[in-house]
């Protein structure tokens, strides 16, 4: 298994995985209902990520097949210290490659690279009800920082 930075030729495969992430989120809350044109939006999102500085896009490959993706971006916390945050926005691994420590490797590599990009803390966004993701991060020393509440007005 190889973990490397994403390239242009990975866009289609990464977009599929990004859509899967969003569908998985929808399993936890109907406010994450996925739009019908999600694949097209995902492609633009991935291309924009590749084009902009301050973003991190890692892929895990088995042979030539993309089996995992991790997207993160740098953000500035203008009122808080530490100020520079590396935020993991999307993280997905295909089912048959789970429980083999690949997730661990990817988050460790992402944390190291975000640190080299200036991140003083690493944060990750996951749906509140996603207990699997919650356990994953808590087990690796993360703690819950913000509760985000939502309702239809």
């Amino acid at each position: 298994m190889v973990i490397r930075h994403a390239r242009k030729e990975d866009v289609d495969a990464i977009s599929d995985l990004i859509v899967r992430t969003k569908r998985l989120n929808n399993e936890f809350d109907p406010l994450f209902a996925v739009t019908p044109d999600a694949k097209g939006r995902a492609e633009k999102y991935v291309q924009a990520t590749l084009a902009a500085p301050g973003n991190l896009l890692l892929v895990a490959l088995e042979g030539r097949k993309v089996v995992g993706v991790l997207r993160a971006e740098m953000r500035e916390r203008i009122f808080y210290e530490p100020r520079n945050e590396g935020r993991v926005t999307d993280f997905y691994i295909l089912p048959e490659h789970r429980r083999k420590a690949l997730g661990d490797e990817m988050i460790q590599q992402a944390a190291a690279e975000l640190k080299s990009m200036g991140a003083e803390i690493v944060v990750a966004d996951v749906p509140a009800q996603n207990e699997i993701a919650n356990r994953f991060y808590i087990k690796r020393g993360f703690r819950a920082l913000i509760n985000q509440f939502a309702k239809r007005p």
């Binding site: 899967r20 569908r23 998985l24 399993e27 295909l94 089912p95 048959e96």
Partner: protein
């Protein structure tokens, strides 16, 4: 005063011989509606199919000072000191509960616990008559898996085993796994282990008839409910390569990249695991794609007769094997399957050859497990039972229209029970380490006792024949 006493009583010389004749006649000529009409009439006439019968004599009322207080207190004290003695001093050793929440009864769906009661009574009667097991029909009002688990666990002190029945999927997997983990008596879900076990027995002989070995055979399981989820596990334990198994449900072939895979991870982890470990070639598509070149089809999916089309089975390998297990109408009728090139066809019905019928297995499984006071029923015990069931049929001479014994070949029950008991001893889950001979004797004694009780009750006019 028993109102039934006034009815004309017909005395039969032997229950099993009479049953055999009746089964033969019904298979040929009875209309589809006749059993339903009779079931309603007879259920009202008898007011229930099973009931308690004493095991001890009451010679006079003085005997109650032994069977009840004050004498019984000594027995209670002994059991308090050693709860294991409850298997020796009470009927616990031979008593199981048939528990359901009524959420998936036969092909009727969620009809509630009361609606399930006649079915559980029927099952209790089969347990009693074919296995000599004292089975209590116990539908319960329990909505969630947690409630069902709690109520079954609470009954453990009274029981030697539990048969779960007709519980919706995927709740049934969770309930069975938890109860097997948390209880020290056998917990069996017949819709999972029973159907899978008898399917395995049928498959052993169908493979023999068509000149195949289990390893290397390409198997398609159509339907991913209780029966086929258990079948996949049991097939793998029996030697099939999971990569040669393809499971197909209503959304198509299960594989690790199917669009709903994460939903399965969260809502049906059993199907999720199957999607990952089976289908080594990662075939995608529908049933026909799965069947292309397959050797075996086991359908436990939905009512037929057109749930599977002839063109779908026609793409299977030469000398194909197909089991259509939906009841009462198989996914495809045997004649259509044979016309499409399938060599060995089995269904769940008694009026076609090769009936894959749980009743061939569950009475013997529990007979064997109870006789050795087993703490659980392992997959190995089920595979041993399936192997013995298949051996019995082989001894009689198997062919494309005879791959399993029939229920009237009752000699098979003590034989299967003995194999189950011996497997429990070998696996270290038996509280009583009986030899094979002792297992056989114990099984024969219980089964023969049940038959004697039935004959005595009929001959004595306590159980009368139904009105014509």
């Amino acid at each position: 005063m028993n109102p039934h006493k006034d009815r004309q009583r017909a005395v039969h010389s032997g229950v099993e011989r009479g049953s055999a004749r009746r089964v033969g006649r019904e298979a040929g000529s009875a209309s589809e509606d006749e059993p339903s009409k009779k079931a309603l009439e007879y259920s009202k006439f008898y007011g229930g199919k099973v009931g308690f019968a004493p095991r001890v004599p009451v010679r006079s009322l003085q005997d109650f000072s032994i069977w009840y207080t004050p004498g019984v207190a000594a027995v209670s004290r002994a059991i308090e000191a050693d709860p294991g003695l409850s298997f020796e001093y009470t009927g616990r050793w031979n008593t199981i509960a048939i528990v359901t929440d009524g959420t998936r009864v036969l092909g009727l769906g969620n009809i509630g616990p009361e609606g399930a009661l006649p079915v559980m009574e029927g099952k209790a009667l089969i347990y009693n008559y074919l296995g000599g097991v004292n089975a209590l029909p116990l539908p319960v009002r329990a909505k969630s898996a947690d409630e069902l688990v709690a109520v079954v666990k609470a009954m453990e002190p009274s029981l030697g085993g539990v048969n779960l029945e007709d519980i919706e999927s995927p709740k049934c997997f969770d309930v069975l796994d938890r109860l097997r983990e948390e209880m020290s008596i056998p917990v069996w879900h017949d819709d999972q282990q029973g159907t899978a076990g008898v399917t395995l027995a049928a498959l052993f002989n169908a493979l023999d008839v068509t000149g195949r070995e289990l390893r290397g055979t390409r198997i398609v399981l159509y339907g991913a409910g209780a029966a086929n989820v258990a079948a996949e596990r049991l097939l793998a334990r029996a030697g099939a390569d999971p990569r040669d198994i393809i499971v197909v449900d209503s959304k198509g072939i299960l594989h690790p990249e199917r669009d709903d895979i994460d939903q399965l991870m969260l809502k049906n982890r059993w199907k999720y695991e199957i999607a990952i470990r089976t289908n080594g070639d990662r075939v995608k598509g529908d049933l026909k794609d799965a069947l292309d070149g397959a050797d075996v089809l086991v359908a436990a999916a939905r009512q037929g007769p057109d749930a599977i089309r002839p063109d779908e089975v026609a793409v299977m390998n030469k000398r194909a094997i197909a089991f259509f297990l939906a009841n009462p109408v198989p996914e495809m009728l045997p004649a259509s399957a044979r016309a499409a090139g399938v060599e060995v066809v089995a269904t769940g019905r008694s009026d076609f050859p090769n009936q894959v019928n749980n009743s061939l297995l569950f009475p013997a499984i529990f007979r064997g497990a109870l006789d050795v006071r087993a703490k659980t029923i392992t997959d190995t015990m089920v595979i041993e039972a399936a192997t013995e069931l298949a051996s019995f049929a082989r001894e009689k001479g198997i062919g494309s229209e005879y791959i399993l014994p029939t229920m009237v070949q009752w000699e098979v029950y003590p034989r299967v029970a003995t194999k189950v008991g011996q497997a429990a001893v070998r696996e270290g889950v038996a509280r009583r380490r009986l030899s094979a001979k002792e297992s056989m004797q114990a099984a024969m004694a219980s089964i023969e006792r049940s038959r004697k009780v039935m004959n005595a009750l009929r001959d004595g006019g306590v159980i009368v024949d139904p009105p014509e």
